[in-house]
């Protein structure tokens, strides 16, 4: 099947969604996605940030689709033509979507641990307007501890359901979910039950905002002060391939490795994530690639730095390992 997105044509299998086809093309045509997660089944279709304009339905029926469609849920047709960033309608509608997502978001980025690697921050920066028109009171929730390692800030949640799908599909028993409906919907654990599962920590990584954060990293540092290092260890539960966020010899936190779309490459277990916080537990492979524009690369190193598993890594004149 042939599909054209923003003038780029690609052959894809039947059943591929527009978003997946756009990601195959890569580069500038990829629509942003807040709820869709390629590793989680049934995710997507909730946040509407990935909306695109279908200017030609298919070869057989070339009429355009009347409304903008969610690209994560719409499968391609042969000869389909899609407009993403070339369509003024899409950009305008996406600006509206961002405004809706930010209606109840507290905008406490200076406090939030996710700031600097937050997808909502990126989205608002690229597609939103600089000012809010919202004057009413934002919805408020108290902070909840989900277990002793995970903190839930319901005020920051955008209800993408990713964590629910993660708990459903990665762990064998889900104890948290979305309670209530509509405006009062919230992520909860029914009587604040702790999530006790070896893979429950992955909800932190899939959360696009700072709603689910690592309690062991809470207020420790900011993401742009710590250096991400690729590291691995042999783990009997997971792949053991992680990113260590270090400063000097301290490991501040451990996360899974993420691909260019901000999605986890392989899920990691809670032992790797919460318990192995010493450099000696890990084999350092080298600095993790960071986008050059990212604030995380500030005062550090540039994208595309290739390092072949050295025994000793040094930054400046301060030895990191030795």
């Amino acid at each position: 099947m042939k599909v054209t997105i923003d003038g780029h044509t690609i052959e894809v299998e039947p059943g591929t969604t527009i978003l997946q086809a756009a990601r195959m093309i890569g580069g500038d045509v990829v629509p942003p996605a807040m709820c869709y997660y390629s590793k989680l089944k049934d995710s997507g279709g909730k946040c509407r940030t990935c909306i695109v304009e279908v200017s030609k339905g298919s070869e057989k029926d070339p009429r355009p689709m009347p409304k903008l469609v969610a690209s994560c849920r719409t499968t391609v047709m042969d000869g389909m033509e899609v407009k993403n960033f070339t369509s003024e309608r899409v950009l305008e509608a996406r600006r509206g979507v961002v405004e809706f997502l930010l209606i109840n978001h507290p905008l406490d980025c200076p406090v939030c641990d996710q700031a600097g690697e937050c997808h909502l921050q990126d989205l608002a920066y690229e597609h939103g307007s600089a000012k809010t028109r919202y004057e009413e009171e934002r919805r408020k929730y108290d902070m909840v501890d989900i277990g002793d390692k995970i903190k839930l800030h319901m005020t920051r949640c955008i209800l993408c359901y990713r964590c629910v799908f993660t708990a459903d599909q990665i762990t064998d028993k889900r104890v948290h979910g979305v309670l209530h409906r509509g405006d009062s919907a919230e992520i909860g654990t029914y009587i604040e039950k702790a999530i006790e599962n070896d893979f429950s920590g992955n909800v932190i990584d899939v959360c696009p905002v700072g709603a689910l954060t690592d309690k062991t990293f809470r207020f420790k540092s900011r993401v742009w002060f710590v250096k991400p290092m690729l590291a691995s260890r042999s783990c009997d539960k997971c792949c053991g391939k992680v990113v260590l966020w270090t400063s000097g010899k301290d490991v501040h936190r451990v996360t899974a490795r993420k691909d260019q779309f901000g999605e986890v490459e392989e899920f990691i277990c809670n032992t790797c994530r919460f318990d192995k916080k010493h450099l000696n537990d890990w084999t350092i492979e080298g600095p993790a690639p960071i986008e050059k524009q990212s604030v995380i690369s500030a005062n550090k190193y540039k994208q595309g730095l290739k390092v072949t598993a050295p025994q000793k890594i040094e930054y400046g004149n301060r030895p990191l390992l030795g």
Partner: protein, 192 residues
């Protein structure tokens, strides 16, 4: 010496024989004294510094101050934007979580338990002031005085945070105005 010269502005000094009046030197001496006397009555270029101070420019950038809000709570939330924007890497922050009962001390749920500026590193560019999203740090008209040890140039929160009894804006020195009249400033009660 050959006739090569580096410049054509060279002058050859001629030693003339002095005339009688010139050889007395008195006109030259009085001429010099007159210039000295004239300077007695001219406006002085210097001021006697500690007693008299020159007015600062409105955009002068001197010692930093960490501002408190109109209720005396610290504005800084330790977001780290000042430290990351600092080209001299002079700022060090350690964040801490506000506990229950400290709401009158810190405005946000996170605060800076350590906020240090190395005044030897600081270049007073004002980028921290510009980066601050919480209206917390300002560069004032104060100077950072000279000192004897390097350690004394690392200014902690004890030197940076605005004193509690000040009720005016650190930059403009204008009193806080609320409902058209100066805001009555209440000192928060510290409990340990």
């Amino acid at each position: 010496m050959s006739g090569i010269t580096l410049t054509n502005r060279k002058k050859v000094l001629e030693k003339k024989k002095l005339s009688f009046s010139e050889s007395l030197y008195l006109p030259a001496i009085f001429g010099g004294m007159l210039i000295t006397l004239k300077h007695f009555f001219m406006k002085k270029a210097t001021i006697s510094y500690p007693d008299v101070k020159r007015p600062f420019s409105k955009v002068y950038r001197g010692k930093h101050v960490l501002k408190r809000d109109d209720q005396g709570r610290e504005n800084c939330t330790a977001c780290g934007l000042c430290a990351v924007s600092c080209p001299a890497e002079a700022i060090t922050i350690v964040a801490d979580e506000r506990k229950k009962g400290e709401e009158h001390l810190y405005r946000e749920e996170k605060y800076a338990s350590v906020y240090e500026i190395n005044m030897l590193r600081c270049i007073f560019c004002g980028l921290c002031e510009e980066a601050c999203p919480k209206d917390a740090i300002y560069l004032t008209e104060d100077l950072t005085p000279a000192n004897f040890t390097r350690q004394d140039f690392i200014y902690g929160k004890d030197k940076l945070v605005q004193p509690l009894n000040e009720s005016c804006h650190p930059k403009t020195n204008q009193p806080y105005i609320k409902d058209g009249k100066p805001y009555e400033y209440k000192n928060p009660v510290y409990t340990k």
